[in-house]
Amino acid sequence: MIVEIGAYCLILALLLSVAQLGLSTGGRMRGSLALIGAGEGAAGAAFLAVLIAFGALMYAFVTSDFSVANVAANSHTAKPLLYKVAGVWGSHEGSMLLWCLALTGFGAAVALTGRGLPVALKAVVVASQGALGVLFLAYTVFASNPFARLLEVPVEGKSLNPLLQDPALAFHPPFLYGGYVGFSIVFSFAIAALVEGRVDAAWARWVRPWSLAAWSLLTVGITLGAFWAYYELGWGGWWFWDPVENASFMPWLIGTALLHSAVVMEKRGALPGWTVFLALAAFTFSMLGAFLVRSGALTSVHAFAVDPKRGILLLSILGIAAGTGFSLFAWRGPRLAAGGLFAPISREGALVINNLVLSAATATVLLGTLYPLIKEALTGQTLSVGTPYFNLTFAPLMALALLVLPLGPLMAWKRGDALGALQRLWWAAVLAVGAGLGVLALLKPSHGFAAIGMALGVWLIAGALTEVAERVHLGKASGQEVRRRLTGLPRGAWGTTLGHAGLGVFALGASFETAYKIEAAQALSLNQSLNVGAYELTLTDVGQVDGPNYIAERGHLTVSRAGKLACTATPERRFYPAGRQTTSEVYICPEGLSDVYLVLGERRTGTGGNPAWLVRAYWNPWARLIFLGPLFMALGGLISLSDRRLRLGAPRRATAIEAAA
């Protein structure tokens, strides 16, 4: 019964989205506040309907209702509750429902909270969001219905892939989808700006919080995914330049560019056309990602619920939405008034460089991802574009961006003083060059690029600190004055600092880990040892463990450094009978910022006929920074988001109050 309510609510949501589109469009055209209000109501109701549908599917998963095809294919009675819940978005159908939930949720949020928005602009935003809702809900209802029933009900489900039964991955999709779909609001704002023929600083001020929120969620989502890959796949890698990873990375890169161009737009009124273009592009890349991941057009390590027929439908949705957006841009875009003037050397100029590099980086990732397809279509020749390509193209582009980054915030708007900014950064430059040379001289890294990466990391962190120091007049004003200024800094400034420093932390960790990673593997019998870096690992025991839905061999290893016990590790090799799959449960001994990473392999016969186990171990120095850095960045985004300026965010009202006062 509850499943039927869910199916009903899903169709209802589709109809409500149609109503939302029709009412808001009609209201805008006739200038009828009643119709516009009804459209906003429909947006709220559509979200409620999808929420009920989502709850119904969750109920089916939690109660293991195997008459629902989706549950039977992705769940199992013996699965822990967390993974039953996470199973809701673990399949194609369920994840599309999550997508629709986020889409209607953001639509409802704008409809119900955007009180300060100009009425006409808001009506078009709500209508555009409704149109997107119609596309994706129609797809979900007609081509990927999560509530489809089975005629013959199986006794037991097929279970979710054991690799996915993991806390990081349980929370990964909600963040990721929040990010992807969050850009839909920005897309709708861009459409509205084009329809209304007006883009101004106020528009940018409304767009910024939404893009910040989407960007922060996406950052967390990607980081969780990378962290999961790091400890679950069992070889210590965290980024593979895989098409599916690239699909999530492209909207992030464009979103980052958008955040920065929206700042220019808000503060100086410059770059209006470009900002609107990026706002359209961010969600287009989100949809492209949805298509790439699900269509099977590209070979990926994580081919996800691949179905070419559905791929064509998703491609059509992408074509309709992006096609409309960019046609509108081509038609109305040139009329958007060009904004404030600025010299090439200025804060605007620095942000333009940021946008240029990020766009080139996105184009690189896009090209690298699609090139095998293009090449095969044109010449019939198959080829691969893998990590080495991105190391040679993406990495130098980003290095350029990181090199210029600390200068930006230190330059004035309109006309900056690059020399002056450099003078204020002299100590950061000395530190960075020193760190780079020190690494080269003392530690002899296996790759020269690591020294550059570390120098850039130090440069970014020191640069971010310099910015704060400059803002509070450190060294120029009295201690009391500095303290007063420090508490008075707007949260947006702290967000910037944290974001930029977080990027530096990431660069530091990523280059250090890549350069100094040590790997060792050996078949160990009991009480034999293996050395990895400064650590000695001894296999003391191997036992059997019965989990809720798996059986496992658990190894006990002591990890010691210079004869002192550092930790006791218990890596496992699990067998899941439901899907007949074997996985390895990695054990990570955290040593400060670094990890000793252990994997238990299969049993074999060792020397003298004793049983032995293949043990692989990695020393991943500073690996924590790789994941901490992006979390700092996301935190920076959230802190920025809580800035008073953005929360109040309605300049029209503010002037009204001033006028009254």
Binding site: N161, L367, S384, T393
Partner: protein, 161 residues
Amino acid sequence: MRLVRALALVLAASLCLGAASEPSERLADPVQEARAKALFTQVRCVVCQNESIDDSQADLAADLRKIVRTEVAQGRNDRQIKAYLVARYGEFILLKPAFSWGNAALWLVPFAIIGLGGLGFLVQARKRTAARSEPELSGLDQALSAAEQEKLTRLLRGDEG
């Protein structure tokens, strides 16, 4: 959306899971072994979904590693080894596409965008500052004309409008 990195792993067999460093395969000479290892990261496991033979535990990856190690041990250089692999398995096997005219678009586009974009920005900025700020700036230096002065006085007095 990276969500299911795994389904494929399972399909292409749990054999694709895990990394390469099987102790029994290793070369005795550490210098040669390091060279072989560097090569592994550039060679695709052609039956796996999207992994280098350094990452994959598929049987074919093990075979490929053996081939690479044998070639390294026989003193062939990287270029020769790659050419040998390409002759046997096609260009698909290299994770780094060759620098060739056919792939010019792939290698040049990223840098072309930066170069052309930067140039466009500079030209545009110069043109706009020249076109719009010159009258503004030069206007600043000039004294007001009599009519302007009179209008200003009126405005300041609040007579206008």
